[in-house]
Amino acid sequence: MEAAVFIAAAAVILVGAVGVVGSRNPVHSALFLIQTLLGAAVLFVLQDAHFLAAVQVVVYAGAIVILFLFVIMLLGVDRAMRLDIEPIAGQRPLAVIVGVALAAVLLTVTVVATGELTGVRRAAGERALDNGLSDVERLGRVLFSQYALAVQATAVLLTIAVVGAVVLTRRHGGHSGPSGEET
């Protein structure tokens, strides 16, 4: 049963990923990205990471992809890009070669390393992270004790990002240039 869910989610994820890369229209890429993110959320549920699955849907599929779509609409680049022109000679073949090499390395590491992971492995049949607490509670305890400082740093990072985005997209001057009246 779990294997069937995994295979279905994996198919959804991989089809979505190929769609993101292969779509000529950026809007279609964004929609395929949502498909991939939802597939990953299913995988999180399968591994008892329910909170992360919810965050994945709300934050990723709900906020980040919507931000992408906003910018696509704002810039008016929702027309199809031509995929057949190649500005740098040999870029595509090189990219494919690099991709194949990367896949070989990653799969080798995966196959070799999975047997040699250190740590307390769960016994067969045991649910992951199962010691009576829900995963939200466990994650919350860890985040606000062990990683409390990192959470604070995250807040600072988010603030900096918001300020930076405002500074970057603000028009200069405001009354000196011809673009000023559009603010």
Binding site: A3, A17, Q47, F51, V59, F68, V71, L74, G99, A161
Partner: protein
């Protein structure tokens, strides 16, 4: 039959490679950002799979931080794209050379 950790790692590797190839091939900076998101998601799947396998909730905590940093990266990156696009009416990654000093 239950999917083992190796299945998840293999899927994450495939997803990461697709994202990397897309990042190298595509020239639209928006699509390149989406490919970065694919790669980050592959890493997230790895974190959750290994965290479940090793019975360590730290894997999920790491995914939490990756999510936040991904959101920040998208916000700043899209602001840059908008800023560059205001000066030139095209949207290829080569035009980002306008950011040079």
């Amino acid at each position: 039959m239950e999917p083992t950790t190796g299945w998840y790692l293999a899927l994450a590797a495939a997803l990461f490679v697709i994202g990397a190839v897309g990042l190298l091939v595509r020239r639209n900076p928006l699509v390149m950002f989406m490919c970065v998101e694919l790669m980050l998601n592959a890493v997230n799947v790895t974190f959750v799979a290994l965290g479940a396998d090793l019975n360590d909730v730290g894997g999920q905590a790491a995914v939490f931080f990756v999510l936040v940093v991904a959101a920040v990266e998208v916000v700043v990156g899209l602001a840059l794209v908008v800023a560059v696009n205001r000066r030139r009416a095209s949207a290829t990654a080569d035009d980002l050379s306008a950011l040079r000093g």
